[in-house]
């Protein structure tokens, strides 16, 4: 079991409120991603759940038990840190065994569990090495190994992939998702990368300045962002946000249109513009189009659009794909 409930949880450092009171429900077995820009408080939120920071107010429940005052060791959670935080003076074997040793488990049982975890994570050949002799990806696996041997109620990941290079990051992302499929244990994963959030999460929690902006499945957030912040944060490239008279024509203060929801034509359309920079990804091309009266609009088109800098184009928003926001930046029905 691993059901975590936050009730009016808040955090202040001195006079600075980092997290105003928030409520959140994390179901057993869910893969929840906290996503938001750097310094938004998502890591602090994770550390509050872990018990590494004391809450300033509110209640944290784990499996229905009040864990607010419990020390980290007694919450039954395991954490994987951004820096891996392996014990540099211990071998991989002793690193993975450490939580079991702290739990006072029988040495034979420990050895069996460590071997099993190492086999799952392809670390069998490295058990007698020190962390300093491993690559970044291997260290990350050791950190995960140390977490899984405890069979925790939930795993907490604090930006675990940000120290890895791009190719490795994609691999580890898949490995962690597979691990979740196998173990079916609750996972809370903190990242600033919305691609990680979209690809891995069952449920995304978008955090901004300590506040929860929106909670929902990746596609919910993509299809119906609750406000301008979520609209701009989820989706890549960013949603085009258009203000002024054009938005007013649609009864909104700001209107949002994703690059993939605009049709492109060289003959006719709603808006007329000039192609600026184009980014070729092979499968797709993202064109930056300067539209009179609207400003710069990003449009997605096929890999072989053939359009060049300075070409005149026409843009037409796809029907029913437009997002409208009011003066407070809230989505309008």
């Amino acid at each position: 079991m691993g059901r975590i409930t936050l009730r009016n949880v808040s955090k202040r450092f001195g006079d600075v409120t980092v997290i105003p009171p928030i409520n959140l429900e994390i179901e057993d077995g869910e893969f929840v991603v906290f996503v938001g820009p750097s310094g938004c408080g998502k890591s602090t939120l994770l550390r509050l759940i872990a018990g590494l920071e004391d809450v300033s107010g509110g209640v944290i429940e784990i499996d229905g038990v009040n864990a607010t005052e419990l020390p980290p060791a007694r919450r039954g959670l395991a954490m994987v840190f951004q820096s891996y935080a392996l014990y540099p003076h211990m071998s991989v074997r002793r690193n993975i065994a450490f939580p079991l040793k702290m739990a006072g488990m029988d040495p034979a049982e420990i050895a069996r569990k460590v071997e099993a975890a190492a086999a799952v994570l392809n670390l069998t050949g490295y058990l007698d090495r020190r962390p300093g002799q491993l690559s970044g990806g291997q260290r990350q696996r050791v950190a995960i190994g140390r977490a899984i041997v405890r069979e925790p109620k939930a795993f907490l990941f604090d930006e675990p992939l940000s120290n890895l290079d791009a190719a490795l990051r994609v691999n580890m992302r898949l490995e962690i998702s597979e691990l979740h499929q196998t173990l079916k244990t609750t996972m809370i994963y903190v990242t600033h990368d919305q691609v990680e959030a979209m690809t891995m999460a069952d449920k995304i929690v978008v955090v901004n300045q300590g506040r929860i902006e929106q909670v929902g499945s990746p596609l919910d957030l993509y299809r119906a962002p609750a406000n301008l912040f979520v609209a701009g944060f989820i989706g890549s490239p960013k949603m085009n946000l258009i203000g002024g008279p054009e938005a007013a024509r649609h009864g909104a203060v700001t209107m949002g249109l994703r690059p993939e929801h605009i049709d492109l034509s060289t003959s006719d359309g709603t808006w007329r513009g000039t192609v600026g920079i184009s980014e070729h990804l092979g499968s797709d091309t993202f064109l930056r189009v300067q539209v009179e009266g609207l400003g710069m609009i990003t449009v997605r088109t096929g890999g072989d659009s053939g359009l060049r800098h300075g070409d005149a184009v026409f843009l037409t928003p796809q029907p029913g794909r437009m997002h409208r926001f009011d003066a407070d930046g809230k989505a309008m029905a």
């Binding site: 590494l52 954490m79 935080a85 014990y87 450490f98 939580p99 702290m102 739990a103």
Partner: protein, 279 residues
């Protein structure tokens, strides 16, 4: 032009080497001179111009010094006082440095500065009250009294050194230990201490040396029974006039043990003193 700066010609290298040797020799010279003088007769010791190597070498001073004073007792007192005050200091400083490094508060920097500021005051400023306290509590001329006062004198340095070492240990590793179920005790024993061993070792070494050489308090608060080697040297400098050769012999005997300790642990000491300066 960055290229020029990196070109090290052999002439330049030779100049720098010569300069380094000169500075090294200048620093070492007083010790060497003391050593040489200890093998001269009293007459040769004050001869002008002094002879450098070509004099009648004699061990007579050492024999006289050994006859007139009790070297083993002073030596033993020095060992007890320097090792005792260092170990006591480290025992107090480890938890202090732990909390300063890993549970910093708003006033942590102030506390550190305040501790260091006690080292900026001349010791003689508190000599009279300290003397009176020692007299009234019967600590005058006792080893435990000197251990106590040297612990206090060097404690700021010990805390500072350990704090610097602990600071180098990423807090996330200790947090990982906490998540892994370690109690504060296990965290310190299994994770912090093994990672800080080099730092703790060099702190201990440096402070033994500092305490061994400490002369102000040891001379003023101990005269006979508890007097360490500093008093042993000092006894050849005053009442009956100056005896340079015997003073030199006593000094050589007093600094020899710590010099040998320093020689064998120099790697550890250099690493300790430059810790954190270069990664």
């Amino acid at each position: 032009m960055p290229d020029m700066a990196r070109k090290t010609t052999s002439a330049r290298k030779a100049t720098v080497t010569a300069l380094a040797w000169t500075v090294g020799f200048l620093i070492f010279f007083p010790v060497l001179w003391t050593f040489l003088t200890s093998f001269k007769t009293e007459g040769e010791a004050i001869a002008a111009p002094p002879s450098f190597l070509f004099f009648d070498w004699t061990v007579e001073n050492y024999l006289t010094v050994n006859e007139r004073s009790d070297y083993p007792r002073h030596f033993w007192n020095s060992v007890v006082i320097s090792v005792g005050s260092t170990l006591l200091g480290v025992l107090i400083a480890i938890p202090a440095a732990w909390s300063l490094a890993f549970v910093p508060g708003r006033r942590t920097r102030d506390v550190l500065m305040w501790m260091l500021s006690t080292k900026m005051m001349p010791a003689v400023g508190v000599l009279v009250p300290m003397y009176l306290i020692f007299r009234d509590t019967g600590l005058l001329d006792t080893k435990s009294g000197l251990v106590g006062v040297l612990t206090l004198v060097n404690l700021p340095i010990i805390v500072w050194m350990l704090y610097t070492y602990f600071k180098e240990i990423p807090a996330e590793i200790l947090e990982a230990a906490r998540m892994d179920g370690a109690s504060l005790r296990s965290e310190i024993i299994y994770v912090l201490a093994p990672m800080a061993v080099p730092g703790i070792a060099s702190t201990i070494l440096l402070n033994i040396i500092l305490a061994w050489n400490e002369a102000f308090w040891t001379l003023n608060l101990a005269a006979a029974k508890a007097a360490p080697l500093t008093a042993f040297i000092a006894s050849y400098s005053s009442p009956e006039g100056l005896f340079y050769a015997k003073l030199s012999a006593a000094s050589t005997m007093a600094i020899a043990p710590i010099l040998i300790l320093g020689w064998f642990s120099q790697k550890q000491l250099v690493r300790g003193l430059t810790f954190g300066a270069v990664k």
